[in-house]
């Protein structure tokens, strides 16, 4: 008796197309997540070289991070650059968004596009250009040079979310505040800014990640004593390829997850990024 002669099972059968789709989706997810997740077991490996699967479990590579001060100082520098750059971008981005959304002036659209160009510009061109500009200014291989370069890179993310959020806020809220006795600053501080906050937080999250992760532009601007974590890791990997890098990646992964979790709790990140 052939299989197709059997009566259909009483419960719902999953159509073949749906099963294929499920398998495809699972593959895509695996493809996206696997390289990231494979880093975690490697970090706990006891092997000296990067082999998978690891032959034993140890925390020696985490200890190695602590033993190497250059990683810690690079982490501190990257974090400081990311925070300073994001802070400056937020102030500049919000002010610019108010001008773009609430006012009309000649060249507005062109200017907004200009602010957004770092998103589409090849990073290597920007890197070379910034290095050329910063050399005569004495900003090359300095903290502030790096931070300002990162402002250029992070501003579009902040500006874009700020413009989108502000466009959604009806002008009548600000006007209502005015009729209730709030001057421009008070209306901004007590009404517009709190209403912008969720969008700004989403933009700031992007900005922090972009800055912390930045490689190409930073490479042209760093030097002895001013080294970001991604570059420090790259330098390390040129000489030694051991699970220390996996350990650092695991720490960063954990920190990122923690940050996203906190923001999600505070404002509902999914709402800000998606729909």
């Amino acid at each position: 008796m052939a299989a197709h002669d059997l009566p259909a099972p009483p419960l719902r059968t999953v159509p073949r197309g749906e099963r294929l789709l499920a398998a495809y989706v699972a593959l895509v997810i695996l493809f996206l997540a696997l390289p990231v997740l494979i880093v975690v077991p490697l970090a706990f490996s006891s092997d000296v070289s990067l082999t998978f699967p690891p032959r034993g479990v140890s925390l020696r590579w985490f200890a190695n991070i602590w033993a190497r001060p250059e990683f810690l100082s690079a982490f501190a520098l990257s974090a400081a650059v990311a925070l300073v750059a994001t802070g400056i971008s937020m102030v500049a981005g919000v002010l610019a968004a108010i001008a773009f959304v609430r006012h009309t002036f000649p060249g507005r659209d062109a200017l907004l596009m200009l602010f957004m160009t770092p998103l589409v510009f090849p990073a290597i061109v920007l890197a070379a250009a910034l290095a050329l500009v910063m050399t005569p200014l004495g900003l090359l291989r300095s903290f502030w040079g790096l931070a300002l370069a990162h402002v250029v890179l992070t501003l579009p993310y902040i500006l874009r979310t700020a413009v989108a959020t502000l466009s959604e806020i009806d002008r009548s809220y600000q006007e209502a505040a005015h009729t209730l006795g709030a001057d421009r600053w008070q209306a901004f501080r007590h009404v517009t800014l709190p209403m912008l906050r969720p969008g700004l937080l989403a933009g700031a999250t992007f900005a922090l990640i972009i800055s912390f992760d930045e490689f190409t532009v930073s490479m042209f601007l760093v030097g002895p004593g001013v080294m970001t974590l991604p570059l420090e890791m790259y330098n390390y990997s040129e000489f030694t390829l051991d699970p220390t890098l996996a350990a650092i990646s695991t720490v960063l992964l954990a920190l990122t997850c923690l940050a996203i979790l906190i923001i999600e709790r505070l404002v509902g990140l999914g709402k800000q990024f998606g729909g």
């Binding site: 009548s172 006007e175 505040a177 005015h178 009729t179 209730l180 006795g181 709030a182 001057d183 906050r197």
Partner: protein
């Protein structure tokens, strides 16, 4: 404690104009709003009523003319220094604040003490019956509740003038009627000079001491609700306020304050002549359906203008019935009959009928053409 204002002030507009680029939004509006009065700006969209209100609020700057609040020129005074209260069409309740925080906002901006703010907020919330909702967010309220929060927020600071921009447009009919009564009561209690904008003639008649009818950036008539309804000064006003009959006619003669008018059907009526009307002029004859009686009894006919015709159809709407009467030459007059007075026997459709009305209730306007 009751929020009340004993020192109501007037609002004066003199030759106020506003352009948006090359487009005039408000052209030459002059108006004196008396202290404690409730005035409505009534007109179709684009007539300049909202722009005028926003200029009183200081949210728009007039291009010409003077705006005075309590006698003082405020043209260049920022809105936050005008001591006004305003209710926006969308209410503009701050979504990140609770109901109580919304109401307290104006007091906080005035740097009043915590205890004073709490007492005033509690009083205002009680006045609009919102006390149990103090800790809710605006998003958790119904339309009518939001409306009351907006109202409480606008009056708690004891403003000199209360401005309302289409305050009831977002509410359904039943709630709108209820809120009309509430706003009126509140305005009486507080005694505050109030200006509101509406495109709903019924709302304007119900709520106002005076109605300011606007058309294309100009004030076309100002008067009590009864004045603008009973004695509209133009065809536009009569059409915009209430339901009207209009038929075409031609003036035969004007003598001793009475005009003899021939309707297109050939029937002639005699009506009081308005100034500026002359023989041979083409006119529109306008009369409210409730002023027209179908088949008036013989004893009521002396002194009435009478028009004969054929009953075409009767529209029963519950309290009243509208009788559509063909008076010849394709023109129709509508008579409204109350269904509450017992004589319910309507004439048979197609039968000849007589329409009667007081001559002074027939308004004569020069034809637009």
């Amino acid at each position: 404690m009751m929020i009340s204002s004993s020192d109501a002030v007037g609002v004066d507009l003199r030759g106020v104009r506003k352009w948006y680029g090359a487009v005039p939004a408000v052209r030459d509006v002059s108006l004196a709003i008396r202290p404690g009065e409730i005035v409505s700006f009534l007109g179709p969209s684009g007539c300049g009523k909202t722009t005028t209100l926003r200029m009183i609020a200081g949210l728009e700057h007039p291009d010409a003319g003077e705006i005075r609040i309590g006698g003082g020129l405020v043209n260049d005074v920022a809105p936050w220094k005008r001591n006004i209260g305003m209710v926006f069409q969308n209410y503009a309740l701050f979504p990140h604040m609770s109901v109580a925080e919304n109401v307290a906002f104006g007091l906080a901006m005035r740097r009043e003490g915590r205890a004073e703010i709490d007492a005033k907020v509690a009083a205002a919330m009680a006045q609009v019956r919102l006390t149990p909702l103090a800790d809710r967010r605006p998003s958790q309220l119904s339309g009518g509740q939001r409306q009351r929060v907006a109202l409480a927020r606008a009056i708690v600071t004891r403003p000199s003038v209360l401005l309302l921009d289409e305050p009831l447009a977002a509410l359904d009919r039943k709630l709108r009627e209820q809120m009309q009564v509430e706003i009126r009561q509140l305005q009486r209690e507080v005694g505050i000079t109030t200006v509101f904008v509406t495109h709903d003639q019924e709302e304007a008649l119900t709520l106002s001491d005076r109605v300011v009818v606007m058309e294309a950036g100009r004030v076309v008539q100002t008067g009590t609700p009864a004045e603008v309804y009973e004695r509209p000064r133009s065809r536009f006003v009569s059409d915009f306020i209430g339901f009207t009959n209009a038929v075409a006619g031609r003036i035969e003669a004007v003598e001793g304050g009475t005009a003899t008018v021939t309707m297109r059907s050939g029937q002639t009526i005699r009506v009081p002549a308005e100034a500026g009307l002359a023989a041979a002029q083409a006119v529109d004859l306008v009369v409210r359906p409730e002023k027209v009686e179908l088949n008036p009894p013989a004893e009521a006919r002396p002194g009435r203008a009478l028009v004969s015709g054929t009953l075409r159809h009767s529209v029963y709407t519950g309290a009243v019935t509208y009788h559509h009467v063909d008076i010849g030459a394709g023109e129709t007059l509508i008579a409204m009959a109350s269904n509450g007075d017992g004589h319910g026997e309507a004439p048979v459709l197609g039968s000849p009928v007589t329409l009667g009305f007081r001559p002074e209730n027939m308004l004569v306007f020069a034809s637009a053409v």
